[in-house]
Symmetry: C2
Subunit: 153 residues, 2 copies
Amino acid sequence: MNDALTLRPIGCVRTPWRQLQDCPRGVRGLGEPAWLEIDPAFEDALLGIEQASHLHVLYWLHQAPRQTLRRPTPHDGVLRGVFATRSPQRPNPIGMAVAQRLRREGARLLVSGLDCLDGTPLIDIKPYLPQADCVPGATLAWQPAAPASVPAP
Amino acid sequence: MNDALTLRPIGCVRTPWRQLQDCPRGVRGLGEPAWLEIDPAFEDALLGIEQASHLHVLYWLHQAPRQTLRRPTPHDGVLRGVFATRSPQRPNPIGMAVAQRLRREGARLLVSGLDCLDGTPLIDIKPYLPQADCVPGATLAWQPAAPASVPAP
């Protein structure tokens, strides 16, 4: 097996959520924008980012325990392995979400679609490739129903 | 800024490609299957993986230089920042692809859709969530045209 691999944060994520219990569940339809604050040492790597409407954002779930291998999935209570869920508790606590790119100000990017804690270390930014990343026929048997876009009266 | 963050490989990827120049470019439509060989210490984390038709596979691009911030995009030669491309050369060389799950044999998963080197360290496996991960309206201005599914005569 390989030696340990080391990540260097490239910046951090600024969100309105200061504690885990405040973070929304799931990432789509989230209205709150978040700032990706890139370390100025990496600003050159943003050249051309405006050509992507959406980004894959990878971040480090710094408060998540890493020993968990199985846990009940919150919406149905069924025990599943963490590689079969998007639980933040996993051997390598890398979070990943598709975010909409809204605006750039120097080394800062305003996005929407993130649900992580304020101050979360940022690991990587990749452009979303519609051809490769959007798989319309994909299925997940236990996926919870989409949240209603309009609350029931 | 945060201290360095350490990843532990959860296994490795077995593909037919032993050298970088043999790896195909791009990940969709690749016919060659690959095995994800999970370290038995993490096998419990696979419980329920069969419920996902597709997986996000995260791996460590162990041969890629990490100092590159900008480079010409291969298909058009335009200089772009690495956060605006899917170049393996990036500060944290994490590769990510959507793979179709084909079969499980104990701690091994047969998938298709990977283009990485044989022996690539495996970092994480996440189920593909169609609701959150498929964004049909996303655009990437410079995205190369899809490879033809049938070669021209």
